[in-house]
């Protein structure tokens, strides 16, 4: 998540104080992307160092210091908006590795393992769906972010479903000595990053 570019975007609407920037950032993505306080101010300092924003030089660092975007900042923001994000395969997908490894571990029922992860992912998805359910329709930022999380989880669940049926067809899903179904390591909401 580029806090840097999100702040540039907020400043593109007009000059703002540090405190307001933090409130607006949280207002738009709040429940889904909580930001720690220091992160806003250190990012603003770096943006200023790089000439992308300017501040009231008289003011001290802190919530009351005012910031405005520079021409270079606007250019940077526009370039970032139009640059396609990196969508390549992540260097290692932990869940894929877990399922692959489990095929070689004696005593692990892969179907049960897949189900345990499926349930955790569905519980996490329920969390985001509840966020959407409670959000007012005009809270577009929150709804879009929650949708994105839901589709991301949906893709992983579909992969698990596919793995499940592929392994079942090859008769690899179950082992003779099945482990008890699905240990519950933690709640889905705690499992969030």
């Amino acid at each position: 998540m580029s806090v840097r570019h999100a702040l540039l975007a907020l400043l593109s609407e007009g000059p703002k104080y540090g405190l307001r920037l933090r409130q607006e950032f949280e207002g738009r993505t709040g429940e889904v992307w909580p930001l720690n306080v220091g992160q806003v101010y250190t990012t603003l300092q770096r943006l200023e160092r790089d000439g992308l924003v300017e501040s009231d030089d008289a003011g001290e660092d802190g919530p009351q210091k005012g910031f405005r975007i520079t021409a270079a900042g606007s250019e940077e923001l526009d370039l970032w908006l139009h640059t396609p994000p990196r969508m390549g395969t992540p260097p290692r997908d932990e869940l894929v590795i877990k399922v692959l490894v489990s095929l070689r571990v004696p005593g692990v029922d892969v179907a049960d393992l897949v189900q345990a992860h499926r349930r955790l992912l569905v519980e996490e998805m329920q969390y985001y769906t509840r966020l959407k359910e409670d959000a007012p329709e005009e809270d577009v930022g929150l709804l879009l972010v929650a949708d994105a999380e839901i589709y991301r989880l949906d893709a992983v669940i579909r992969w698990l479903d596919t793995a499940d049926s592929r392994l079942t067809r090859l008769d690899l899903a179950h082992q003779e000595k099945a482990t008890p179904v699905s240990p519950r390591p933690r709640r889905a909401t705690e499992a969030r990053k």
Binding site: P34, Q115, R119, V122, E123, E133, L153, D154, K193
Partner: protein
């Protein structure tokens, strides 16, 4: 809380000998008034059988089904049909609206079958459509409505009157995601008013609207989600990114 739907050790098999298929094996399921439960599972896991048995459209091989506390397996065929008509609403993927009837007439139909006079049924039906934002479409025929509107009519028909159990099989199947979400919001609203809902789906996005998700495999309940965290979770610290 009363169990709007109780399934106790329900088994269902088809065929015999070499062709014997166990569609459901000793399924226990309890859905309380106001609760929305989703049933997930791969094709052939028994999801749709579970729904038709919950809806008393099929008989169990063994076990018991209770609707509103009444054991339907002890009822005569006629009593069961009456109970089904009065207490259970169905929503299917393809809406199943009668093409020759207007939206309001479709919604009024189950009420009329219950013996309510046409005029009264029509008033109640129009009220139900208005609640779903379809008041102005009440006089339209199904082929004059969009897919999303048709499914809203089907939901109005399913919950009209005193129906306390809403059963839905892939209710958003043919709809785009925004219309599908609108349908799930309506199902949730019905549940908040005290209807017990059961939605069968293979789609986790749809299932995630439920209070509880139950997973079926080979006709057995193998797992279910934990109930949503209570208010105390709001006091828990937000995990670091």
């Amino acid at each position: 809380m009363t169990g709007a739907l109780e399934m106790r050790e329900v088994s269902k098999s088809y065929g015999d000998g070499a062709t014997l298929v166990h569609a459901l094996r000793e399924v226990d399921l309890s859905v309380t008034a106001g609760e929305l439960v989703a049933i997930m599972g791969p094709s052939g896991s028994g999801k749709s059988t579970l729904l038709t048995i919950a809806g008393t459209l099929e008989e169990v091989t063994s076990g018991h089904v209770l609707i509103g506390g009444n054991d339907v397996s002890n009822m005569s065929r006629d009593d069961r049909a009456r109970s089904r008509r009065r207490s259970i609403g169905y929503v299917f993927q393809d809406f199943n609206l009668l093409a020759g009837l207007t939206a309001a007439e479709n919604v009024a139909l189950p009420l009329e079958l219950d013996g309510i006079r046409a005029k009264q049924a029509s008033i109640v039906a129009r009220g139900a459509l208005e609640e779903l934002g379809l008041g102005e479409r009440a006089g339209h025929f199904p082929d004059e409505l969009s897919g999303g509107e048709r499914q809203r009519v089907a939901i109005a028909r399913a919950v009209v009157g005193e129906r306390r159990l809403l059963l839905a099989d892939e209710p958003t199947g043919a709809l785009d995601s925004v219309n599908g979400e609108a349908v799930m919001r309506l199902v949730r609203t019905a549940c908040k008013r005290g209807v017990a809902g059961v939605v069968v789906t293979h789609d986790s996005r749809l299932a995630s609207w439920a209070d509880r998700v139950i997973f079926l495999r080979d006709g057995r309940v193998i797992d279910q989600t934990l109930p949503p965290p209570g208010p105390e979770s709001l006091l828990a610290p937000i995990p670091e990114q």
